[in-house]
């Protein structure tokens, strides 16, 4: 038995071997000190600087949102025919960013990819924050936000229901379900760690808070048994949602009659794009986190490299989708679709089309090289490019398709305003403010799960403890 394993190991090429989860010697105690101890220490100066910056952006964004709600969305650049612009671009962008978290924590969990353990918590948190950012936009983009609750099917004396045929309504369900399940999943996973923090801290107030939110977790076998079951179930539920939420978001476009929106490829294409953008954002944030919070031994370069491989894979899928869009435009012999595609690569907004293609297809090809996958410079370059590229992809889909659709008489260019940019920046401010807060008050790494993969924690084949 033992001999067989070793021969197998010898036969496996390096690339197929399981990723070492940790570097150096990590024990339960050192892990707790490293991860959970953060909350007991005073935040460093640079944290405050970063916080000041992001919260300023956030407040600026809220100011612009207030101005919009007070005055009307005429303060944006939206016009006829570009009735949707930054509002929905930002919405789709942030929902997309939110995809990586659930993918990492749920799908990789189900596939027992244990390397996910070190990064799952952070990715999940980012999901929640990104969906929060996304959720703002459908609310503020409507003409009368104070009536937006009419989108919910609640019983009312007028006996009016929302229109269940409208993809926007599906959005409401898809995104709210996604947010609820992701939040639950995240919170459930946090329970054992919060309990650890409760046990560690000496501060009275912190102890009280952690006591309340750890929901009486004692780490008994019974707790663990229930926990594992619930976690698996939620992972199963979330898996479906990863695929559904962005498919539903894509229905906003795919079910319409607008040339450039009305495409059957949209659901998988949107999901791939979302994972793509989400992973890029996770890489971006993890690089900062592992450096600034001294977590290099837990979030290793191998983690980043694997993530980069996913990004590369998704980039190729995106390339396929873009090519398919072009093929469909040509093959359909549809003059309108044809025109829209030509607009992407050569119209007034052709620069946005090429920016999208360059950032999402060409630049990520760097990741074929191991050097690029493991070098901060290159991976940050790619991650930033993908983030920019995916924002512009939504710009391409929404603005380019809308600005010239069927009747040339109605065509018009779109010019964003200061308020549009302000709210976009504000959403980034909100996102990073939440990320920064999270990094200080909750464990950024799922210690309970990492502990499960520490040497000696798991029984190994052959009855030995490795």
């Amino acid at each position: 038995m033992k001999a067989e394993t070793s021969t197998m190991n010898a036969e496996f090429p390096d690339i197929l071997r399981e990723i070492p989860l940790l570097e150096g010697s990590v024990t339960s105690g050192s892990l707790d000190d490293q991860v959970l101890g953060v909350t007991d220490r005073k935040p460093p100066r640079r944290w405050f600087v970063a916080m000041a910056f992001t919260s300023t952006l956030m407040l600026l964004g809220f100011g612009f949102i207030g101005y919009t709600i007070y005055t009307g969305i005429g303060v944006w650049g939206n016009n006829s025919p570009v009735f949707w612009a930054f509002d929905i671009i930002n919405f789709v962008f942030w929902v997309g960013i939110g995809h990586a978290g659930t993918l990492i924590s749920a799908i990789l969990f189900i596939f027992r990819m244990r390397w996910r353990n070190a990064i799952a918590r952070f990715a999940e948190a980012m999901t929640i924050f990104a969906v929060m950012c996304a959720g703002i936009f459908p609310l503020i983009h409507v003409g009368r936000p104070w009536l937006a609750f009419w989108l919910f099917p609640y019983p009312n004396q007028r006996a009016v229901w929302p229109n269940f045929r409208s993809p926007l309504l599906w959005d409401v369900f898809a995104v709210s379900t996604y947010f609820a399940v992701s939040a639950m999943f995240w919170y459930l996973g946090l329970l054992p760690d919060i309990a650890s923090m409760r046990d560690r801290t000496a501060n009275k107030w912190r102890k009280l808070i952690y006591t309340v939110i750890s929901l009486g977790w004692h780490g008994s076998a019974r707790h663990w048994q229930h926990f594992e079951k619930a976690y698996l179930l939620l992972a199963g539920l979330a898996t479906g949602l990863v695929l559904s939420v962005h498919s539903v978001v894509s229905f906003d476009f795919a079910t319409s009659v607008v040339p450039g929106w009305h495409m059957t490829i949209f659901p998988p294409y949107f999901v791939a794009g979302a994972i793509f953008a989400g992973f890029a954002m996770v890489v971006l944030v993890l690089v900062v986190v592992r450096e600034s919070m001294q977590l290099k031994n837990l979030i290793t370069l191998r983690h980043l490299e694997v993530m980069n491989k996913v990004i590369l894979g998704m980039s190729c899928l995106m390339g396929y989708s873009y090519a398919m869009e072009g093929f469909t435009a040509w093959y359909s012999q549809n003059v309108y679709l044809h025109h829209t595609f030509l607009n992407i690569i050569g119209g007034h907004y052709g620069w946005a089309g090429w920016l999208t293609i360059s950032c999402n297809i060409f630049i990520p090809q760097l990741l074929w090289f191991k050097k690029c996958r493991t070098s901060y410079f290159w991976m940050i370059l790619v991650a930033v490019a993908v983030t920019v590229g995916m924002w512009f992809e939504r710009f391409v889909i929404i603005v380019i398709s809308l600005h010239q659709d069927y009747l040339p008489s109605a065509w018009r260019l779109y010019h964003p305003t200061l308020v549009d940019f302000g709210i976009l920046l504000g959403s980034f401010g909100l996102f990073f403010t939440l990320v920064l807060l999270f990094a200080r008050v909750l464990p950024v790494i799922a210690t309970s799960e990492v502990k499960g993969s520490l040497p000696g924690s798991q029984p190994r084949p052959g009855g030995e403890h490795a």
Binding site: G72, V75, N78, S80, R144, S166, L168, R412
Partner: protein, 978 residues
């Protein structure tokens, strides 16, 4: 007594209860006896609690009442019999506009006018009117209207104003000094009679009637060849060939001409004949855009072209006329020239040559010559009031400066805006002792006048107007909103001041004059008068005038004149399509109405040909410097396909400096005019240089080609005769077909008849409370018109083919907008309407994204809520005013549909074809829009939609629109491409 009453028990419990219990039950109903039951918690009894709650609510309610708006509300004790709340009344009246007048019907609701249409009894207009007549209702409610007379800038009473005016005039009369009366043109015989009386009582009065934007060539030419000032009205019902020398007779001002012209352009099956329109013109006009053959020619060359035609026509010249040898114009293809001559000859008296008002006199003479040679029967001769020209104005200015006038009265004119040298005018005006201004809205000229007398709006005033063989009556449709009087009453006051016997008011004057001069026949006058008020007009015994003898000797000099052309740019000034000579500058509806050709709103960019613009490196909105003989103007340019090379065109009436809406919109082109020029509206030797910077032009359409899309079906008469109707079949769909139990409303729009005049746009705006948004918002693409006219160019930039396509909600059966609305705010009615519930709309704008026709309009900002009286009085009470954040669109005038259905139901009959006419269809002068029930196989709309020309726009999207367009047919003389 009490004990003796029988005791009835209410329940068995009560009967068997103890006396204490009975007492308690009794006491429960007694007031104030529940002290023991006070709540142990609050110490307040239930009754007291309810009392307190009631009192609090009452106090809160009283406190919430706003005492500031307190006013007496008095209900009718006796309702005026003509006012039924919720029921519209229609009154016939007349809209005067200088040399024209339009008999109209005014729709009033609860005593206020809300909508204007043409008078449907009028034999020529048949319910149609000019777009400006429709829109002028807005001026009635203009918040900037003067509320009362002003003396030296301070409010005054009419009595004081009259005293000042009459003293001044009496003094002038005594001193034997002249008095200047400057007015606009008028078609009113009673006003003329009144002014004649004034002249008789005040012999030193000098009256000038002046229309600054109309040009002087027509009058000069008529005087030269006919010896009198007259107006030639085109009568195109039987015209087979129409040649326009820069005449824009289809620009909407003359609905009769449009109706007559288009009546020959909607070929019935089998398709055989149509009239043919040839146009030679400099700028691309609406008429040119509807031409069968159009050639861009600089206006200065039109006269020579006309004389060359006369020479080549091969018909005898009128006696005394001589034409030197003139070559056929080099830039007109010989084949076209030959065909044109052939057309004119073969049509004979069925041919007519029309010449544009802004054209020089020699071009008009050429047209008169051609018409005389052809013996054209397509012109009606009407007498015309001789108008003052700029040279007369300049003379008056000099007289003012020399102190000749003791008083000057400006009535309905704005010389400070329209006189080319405003500074000199003002300087001269300062020398006049008494300066009086009479008008509706304070303008540039009011500022220099000590006495400012506010006039009634025409909807508040009396009047009568000559309209060919008809005399139309103008009656007030609303009481004066402010302390104003109609201008004629100022004249009456002057007459009284001079001691002449004058009527008490103008109504009495008009009434008396009609009794004396107009009344004919056996009908007693009061009945005659009532009938005239009802109909809006009476027939007079004025006979059709014959054209005076043609004075051939005038031709030679004019033909000599015609040969002079200039090398540099020539600039054509024309009255603004919307603001005319500037008098409508404060009208937001008109300012925001896109120019039918350029689709520009809010301003007057300089139209330049594409070739010239390319040569100078100019693009839309680039600023240029115009220089004419030392006069300068800086303004943005607009590249106009189809405009002749070397020609510039600019609209008059913009660049006002007074008026909340008008101020600062466009540039004033009047100062460019050379007062000594025989043809002031055509300026030669204009220098154009590229200036600095750009000005965004608020276009409503930015893309002008169809890009090969099959949106407007068009064909030539010859080609179309060969076309077979393709079998109509709807595209396959997964949706179930909609069922329409009773009606299915639909529309047909005949593109052959539609000339693009945009009257429908204004009619819709007025009917449906469509708001204006201003130039910045139009530039951002947020205009709100429910119906727009898409205008496409096809072919070369030098001389494109133009098509107009009205675009409004297509009321699709499978409406893409409906299924995407998350809150069900837009859905389908059982009679086939795609309806909009504004109250339910939250404003996701998804519907607008998904509308292939882009006819949905969104309230991006609050455009309506701040509007208060008097602005809000113009609203149609039957249509919701939409707030910000709400989507809106054409409803097929659902309020009119419901009105007709209710009427039909009340009369216990089905809705008949033609009962329902949406505002756009009602206003369309060419009757291109037909509305009706598609379920009724006999209805006109059903029959038209099944003709060979019928097609649906964007049928391939599968939305199943309810509007059928009929293909545009042209009747070109040359094969396409020739």
């Amino acid at each position: 007594m009490r004990e003796e009453q029988p005791h009835y028990w209410r329940s068995l419990e009560e009967r068997g209860a103890s006396p204490e219990a009975l007492q308690a039950a009794h006491d429960e109903l007694k007031p104030g006896t529940l002290a023991p039951a006070d709540s142990p918690v609050t110490g307040i009894s239930r009754r007291n609690f309810l009392g307190l709650v009631g009192a609090t609510a009452a106090v809160a309610a009283t406190a919430a009442c706003d005492k500031s708006g307190k006013a007496f509300v008095v209900p009718y004790t006796k309702r005026p019999k003509e006012v039924v709340p919720g029921v519209a009344n229609f009154y016939a009246s007349t809209f005067p506009e200088g040399t024209r007048s339009y008999s109209v019907l005014v729709k009033t609701r609860e005593g206020r006018p809300i909508h204007i249409t043409g008078n449907d009894e009028h034999p020529g207009l048949k319910g149609k009117t000019s777009p400006r007549a429709l829109a002028d209702i807005l001026r009635l409610y203009d918040p900037e209207r003067l509320r009362g007379p002003k003396l030296q800038g301070h409010s005054a009473t009419w009595a004081d104003a009259e005293k000042v005016l009459n003293t001044a005039i009496a003094n002038a009369k005594q001193a034997g000094k002249a008095i200047l009366l400057l007015t606009g043109a008028s078609t009113s015989p009673t006003r003329k009679a009144l002014l004649a009386e004034l002249k008789a009582a005040l012999p030193t009065l000098e009256h000038l009637a002046w229309e600054p934007a109309l040009g002087e060539g027509a009058q000069e030419a008529a005087t030269a060849v006919f010896g009198t000032s007259l107006q030639l009205k085109p009568r195109l019902e039987n015209a087979k060939v129409i040649l326009s020398l820069g005449a824009d007779f289809l620009n909407g001002e003359d609905p009769e001409a449009i109706a007559a012209f288009t009546s020959q352009r909607r070929p019935a099956e089998p398709v055989k004949t149509m009239n043919r329109l040839w146009v030679f013109e400099g700028p691309l006009s609406l008429t040119g855009s509807n031409a069968d053959q159009r050639f861009p020619v600089p206006p200065s060359r039109l006269a020579a072209l006309g004389f060359a035609l006369a020479k080549d026509l091969g018909l005898p010249l009128p006696a005394g006329a001589q034409l030197a040898s003139l070559p056929a114009p080099a830039d007109i293809p010989a084949e076209a020239w030959r065909k044109l001559l052939e057309d004119l000859r073969s049509a004979g008296s069925g041919a007519v040559v029309l010449c544009g008002a802004a054209m020089p006199a020699e071009a008009h003479v050429a047209a008169h010559l051609l018409n005389t040679m052809l013996e054209s029967k397509c012109l009606e001769v009407r007498p015309a009031e001789p108008l003052a020209g700029l040279r007369d104005l300049e003379a008056a200015r000099k007289d003012m400066a020399s102190g000749k006038y003791a008083a000057a009265i400006f009535w309905g004119v704005n010389p400070v805006h329209a006189f080319p040298d405003a500074e000199a005018w003002n300087a001269a005006l300062a020398k006049v002792t008494t300066r009086v201004w009479v008008g509706l809205l304070e303008d540039e000229s009011a500022a220099g006048c000590a006495l400012v007398l506010p006039e009634h709006h025409w909807l508040e005033a009396w009047g009568d107007h000559e309209d060919g063989a008809l005399l139309t009556l103008q009656q007030p449709t609303v009481g004066a909103l402010y302390d104003t009087r109609q201008g004629e009453e100022v004249v009456l006051a002057i007459l009284r001041g001079l001691g002449a016997a004058a009527a008490e008011d103008y109504r009495a004057y008009l009434h008396d004059r009609w009794a004396k001069d107009v009344h004919r026949g056996p009908v007693p006058f009061e009945r005659f008068w009532q009938a005239a008020l009802h109909d809006g007009f009476v027939k007079t015994d004025a006979k059709t005038l014959a054209l005076p003898a043609f004075r051939g000797d005038a031709v030679k000099a004019m033909a000599e004149q015609a040969r002079k052309t200039s090398g540099a740019f020539e600039l054509m000034l024309r009255p603004g399509t919307q603001v005319f000579d500037g008098r409508y500058g404060n009208n937001g509806w008109l300012q925001e109405l896109p120019d039918p050709i350029t689709k520009a709103t809010w301003g007057n960019p300089l139209a330049i040909s594409v070739a010239d613009a390319k040569f100078l490196g100019l693009q839309d909105g680039d600023r240029v410097e115009l220089a004419v003989a030392g006069r300068q103007l800086s303004l943005p340019v607009l590249l106009q396909p189809g405009q002749a090379k070397g020609v510039l065109a600019l609209a008059l009436g913009y660049g006002r400096t007074v008026g909340g809406v008008a101020k600062g919109i466009g540039v004033n082109a009047f100062p460019l005019i050379d007062m000594q020029s025989p043809c002031p509206n055509l300026i030669h030797d204009v220098k154009l240089t590229k200036g600095k910077g750009r000005t965004q032009i608020p276009f409503t359409q930015n893309h002008h080609r169809m890009d090969g899309r099959d949106l407007v079906h068009s064909s030539s008469l010859v080609e179309f005769a060969k076309v077979k109707k393709k079998p109509a079949a709807d595209l396959a769909t997964l949706y179930p077909d909609l069922q329409f139990p009773e009606h299915k409303w639909g529309m047909v729009i005949d593109l052959s008849a539609c000339i693009g005049c945009s009257t429908c746009v204004l009619a819709c705006q007025s009917e449906n409370n469509v708001t204006t948004v201003g130039p910045e918002q139009v530039a951002k693409g947020r205009e709100m018109h429910w119906i727009r006219i898409d205008r496409y160019y096809e072919g070369s930039e030098e001389n494109p083919r133009v098509v107009h396509q009205p675009m409004l909600c297509q009321q699709c059966d499978h409406a893409p907008c409906e299924n995407v609305c998350p809150v069900n705010a837009t859905n389908h009615s059982p009679d086939g309407l795609n309806q909009m519930a504004y109250n339910r709309c939250v404003g996701t704008r998804y519907c607008a994204n998904n509308c292939p026709y882009k006819v949905r309009r969104f309230n991006f900002l609050e455009f309506t809520a701040y509007k208060t009286e008097p602005e809000s009085l113009v609203y149609n009470p039957e249509v919701t005013v939409r707030p910000r954040g709400v989507m809106e669109k054409c409803t097929f005038c659902v309020q009119r549909i419901q009105d007709a259905r209710i009427r039909a139901k009340a009369e216990n009959r089905p809705v008949l074809d033609g009962d329902i006419v949406p505002a756009c269809a009602a206003a369309c002068p060419s009757q291109a829009i037909v509305f009706g029930d598609l379920k009724d196989p006999k209805s006109l709309v059903t029959q038209l939609s099944r003709t060979r020309r019928g097609y649906k726009v964007l049928e391939e999207v599968g939305a199943r629109p309810a509007i059928t367009y009929l293909a545009d047919l042209k009747n070109p003389a040359l094969e396409v491409g020739e």
